[in-house]
């Protein structure tokens, strides 16, 4: 007889790691699967200011990677089994759930979907071809390539403005390109951006095309959202290139579950105990339909989900 876990968690972001911690403490036989980096989106975030208990302040702002490293270690302390693999297919009907991966098939009585989200692309011509050649969604990965050069940050939310501030460590000048005439980021972040002499703003503007010269980003077309007028912004002649960092929100990683679990606009619907429409299938974190997607709410979801799994297994509701 093949092994059947109590719980398989798909995704080791804050939701999956918090669920792993709680499941491990409850001695649930748990497997946590991650295809890439623990933490997902938050692992590549330069600074975490708003996780309660996280260190923050001048000179002590914690990075996402540092926060996640502690969560990973804490999860491991409670004996959660780990697997580095990409899930290719799931079968979630019936009492025994199947999770197919590149490393084989795994079974469990309960599955927690914590696959999170990925950066939303601009969706304009040239973007795909120039990804990694001037276009980036990861400031901590690629910021240093633009040392002394110009950088454009697309977006006006918390992430966009925070990463723009981070990029001023490298870039000569950072221009925030936003489709409205005011930022959406919280006030304290806005104040830091407005006080930073390296940061400039291009209001009421959207990028409609990215242009490469010999395979490297060298120009872009922006459209004024008020007048509809388009203009082309060229790289400084001496530089010959610039960076475009895109932070215009996220899209849920829902594809694996599209056929099985109820969703609204690709976000999974759950009750307040993180149960989906399928018995034994739970969802937590950014993949859920909910009003606030933050590390703190992802952790909360994960904890609630793990405790509900324990409760449902103990009561005989599932398994």
């Amino acid at each position: 007889m093949e092994k059947i876990y109590d719980l398989i968690i798909i995704g080791a972001g804050p939701a999956g790691l918090a669920a792993g911690l709680y499941a491990g403490r409850s001695r649930l036989d748990t497997l946590l699967i991650e295809k890439g980096v623990d933490g997902g989106q938050i692992a590549i975030t330069a600074e975490i200011e708003n996780y309660p208990g996280g260190l923050s302040g001048p000179g002590t702002v914690e990075s996402g990677a540092e926060l996640i490293a502690r969560m990973t270690a804490q999860c491991a302390q409670f004996g959660v089994e780990r697997l580095s693999a990409q899930v290719t297919r799931v079968a979630l009907d019936g009492p025994v759930k199947e999770v197919h991966t590149h490393e084989g098939l795994f079974r469990a009585k309960a599955v927690l979907i914590a696959t999170g989200a990925h950066p939303r692309p601009i969706g304009c011509p040239g973007e795909k071809e120039l990804m990694g050649r001037g276009v980036s969604y990861c400031a901590t990965c690629d910021g240093s390539f633009f040392e002394g050069l110009e950088v454009y940050v697309i977006g006006g939310g918390d992430t966009a403005v925070e990463e723009a501030i981070y990029l001023t460590r490298f870039a000569r000048k950072v221009t925030i390109v936003h489709r409205r005439d005011e930022l959406r980021a919280v006030q304290s972040i806005q104040e830091r951006a407005f006080a930073n002499s390296k940061i400039d703003f291009l209001w009421n503007s959207v990028v409609t095309e990215l242009h490469g010269d010999d395979g490297v980003l060298s120009a872009m077309t922006v459209k004024d959202t008020k007048t509809g007028q388009e203009r082309r912004i060229e790289a400084d002649e001496e530089d010959g290139m610039f960076g475009v960092f895109v932070f215009i929100g996220f899209l849920p990683n829902y594809e694996l579950f599209a056929e099985s679990v109820q969703m609204d606009n690709h976000y999974i619907l759950t009750d307040d105990a993180m149960r989906t429409n399928l018995p034994g299938v739970y969802a937590a974190g950014d993949i859920r339909k909910k009003p606030l997607r933050q590390v703190v709410t992802a952790c909360s979801d994960g904890a609630i989900a793990a405790m509900q799994v324990e409760h449902d297994l103990a009561s005989g509701a599932i398994g």
Binding site: V37, D38, I44, H118, G132, R133, G134, S136, C141, F145
Partner: protein
Amino acid sequence: MFELDKDNFESEVLQADGPVLVDFYGNGCVPCEALKPHILRLEETYGDRIRFTGLNTSTARRLAISQKILGLPVIAIYEGGQKVKELIKEEATPQAVEDMLKAYCGL
């Protein structure tokens, strides 16, 4: 894995006799760190067909840009002084790198 730098890239990669895999990474690049153990694992299988090397672009920025590397991680295969295949950023999953190596080695 052989560690490259800006001084030996020319001789070890561009002038190399056989094919060379280059793992372009950088300081503070979390996805690069996550990918590295998978590349080391693949070296055990494919290392006798392709030479595995790594370049820390944080100490070789100009060189990286000259190779059109402006985003990390990138796993590239060079042959005869040319970059013949590459997987950039999100494309560079362990599975995709193995598939690229298999296809390249005709396996």
